[in-house]
Symmetry: C2
Subunit: 338 residues, 2 copies
């Protein structure tokens, strides 16, 4: 699957390369391992806006002193269904990794549990956080707020972040059902990629610095803003993400931090909420069979692609052929590792 | 505020009238009280698609033998964060009313708790279910699936219900922040009202029986179907509602029941999920102050209407002037009460 513009390498090799880069640029071994695995997973699954494309942003954010790559998360066991983590100005994923066993054991015991991560930086896709719960037979819902770049419906100025919502559920005989959606009309990473490729974005995606509708990704990034998806409904969901991922966790709102004194900083300093439910507590205890029934009925109704299917297909391909990375990009990465 | 087409009456009088109607048509005193209060609340708050407009549908559904107006809900205390209710083929609201004290006490103790209602009929707005939690300082998220009338994104045939999501959160010094959104482009009740008034619905709302886009509400109701809001994202949320409100509760999917042998049946026989979170467990314990901050920042960004504000305004007006009901409608209601 390599061509003149790209190469393939085994997943483990990509993880190792990325881990070297993150450690070389200020992350502890543990943090580097979590970020490398996360980033390589996105690249492997074809989620390129959250793949190796993100590495320079991670590195410059650490270099700027904005985020602490050595941070040690502090887990607080608050109640039988409530876990808090102070990510100590580090990345959200290592905080999740540390708190995860307690969260899972509480969810299995109480039927539902919530993890509230604060003082954290989330710069990745959200589906890698929720999919593993579904592989253990649990349901997971996660919300993260980001940085001001979305105009609330009916407003004139940006306030919300792209504020994604991700959901994962087991499905009998199949990979889990997983979705991960920005509550903005387009994810920020996709706007950046469109800008880099000189491609327009769909109408309704955003506005320029004068607040006028535009399909130019550069105008959206350069003083403009995104719009919520689906008008007032997407905007209400984005507001809910601010309330749950920031107000409820104790993290910053998307407008609540100032990185202007940290040139190179790109990672939003906010919070993340994860709700995990154990469906074995449900009446009938046949959740996975019923979710399979739903998926099959969706196919009968003409839906040709399951939630998460494209990623699973890319993943299967990468297991055979290796993970595809652009040749120039791979050269740059190798240069960053030494 | 009465005119030739409408009259006003005190809220308590409307509740009493509706309670008489529901009892006269097969509901137990307890069920009638809950439904009457719910329905009068919607009418009072200007949510007319779920106000007295719904009464004939409640009555014909009970008369058809489809829903049991005398049902006694059975509460199951499953785990420290998980409560189940078998609504016994009755309405969802009385089931919530019976399970509510246990749900609230679990949420306060565990930090989060879930109520899974199955074997239930929900024919009302969803915001009256969540708003009271926020008035007690709690956060609430609820999902209900309904009956097949929405074509999944990318599909050809209807499968999902209008599947609303409602959310409520306390806000210091203000009424709670509350939203209630169908995951369809328009709520079913609003399509019915448009059809009755001979008004077109917005483009993108639905398709006719041939699957062609239409703005004719009658064509949508007569063999056509609704579309999800916001394309594939709204569709994914609607799928999540099927999974959480039906598969997780043990209730029917929106396509999982057949009311064809019950002419007059209008109430979907499905399930409902309610997640309640106690923000006093959050870091900083200042949720309501932070939600106030968010709302104020939204106003500074130019948002002129708070979530739920229109209802609160109508409510305040009704407290002074009484609840407005169409004159013909009120005559019909009075006729149904005897």
């Amino acid at each position: 699957m390599s061509d003149v513009h790209s190469q393939t390498l085994p997943f483990a090799e990509l993880v190792q390369l990325l881990q070297q880069i993150f450690q070389r640029h200020g992350a502890s071994a543990q943090v580097a391992q979590v970020l490398a695995s996360n980033c390589a997973t996105a690249q492997r699954d074809g989620a390129h806006s959250h793949g190796v494309f993100r590495v320079p942003g991670y590195v410059s954010s650490m270099a700027s002193g904005w985020v602490d790559g050595q941070a040690v998360p502090v887990v607080e066991d608050v109640a039988s269904g409530f876990v808090r983590v102070d990510a100590s100005n580090g990345f959200a994923q290592p905080a999740l990794a540390v708190a995860r066993p307690l969260l899972v054991s509480k969810a299995r015991e109480a039927g539902i549990a919530v993890l509230a991560i604060r003082n954290s930086h989330h710069f990745a896709a959200l589906w890698p956080d929720v999919e593993p719960f579904a592989r253990e037979g649990l349901l997971a819902l996660s919300l993260v707020n980001s940085m001001t770049c979305v105009v609330p419906h009916g407003g004139r100025k940006p306030l919300f972040g792209t504020n994604p919502i991700a959901f994962a559920a087991p499905c009998e005989g199949h990979d889990p059902i997983v979705f991960d959606m920005a509550t903005s009309a387009l994810a920020h990473g996709d706007v950046q990629i469109a800008a880099r490729q000189g491609q327009p974005v769909p109408p309704g995606t955003g506005v320029d610095r004068e607040g006028q509708p535009t399909t130019d990704p550069k105008a959206i990034l350069d003083g403009g803003a995104l719009l919520p998806f689906g008008g007032h409904k997407g905007s209400a969901l984005s507001m809910m993400v601010e309330l749950l991922a920031a107000a409820l966790t104790g993290g910053h709102f998307s407008f609540g931090f100032d990185w202007s004194k940290h040139p190179g900083a790109q990672t939003p300093w906010t919070g993340q909420l994860i709700i995990v439910i154990d469906p074995s507590k449900a009446a009938g205890n046949d959740f996975a069979a019923r979710s399979r029934e739903l998926v099959e009925r969706m196919e009968h109704a003409g839906v040709t692609r399951r939630a998460g299917e494209r990623r699973y297909r890319e993943r299967a391909r990468a297991e055979v052929d290796g993970v595809k990375v652009g040749t120039e990009e791979l050269d740059r990465l190798r240069g960053m590792a030494v």
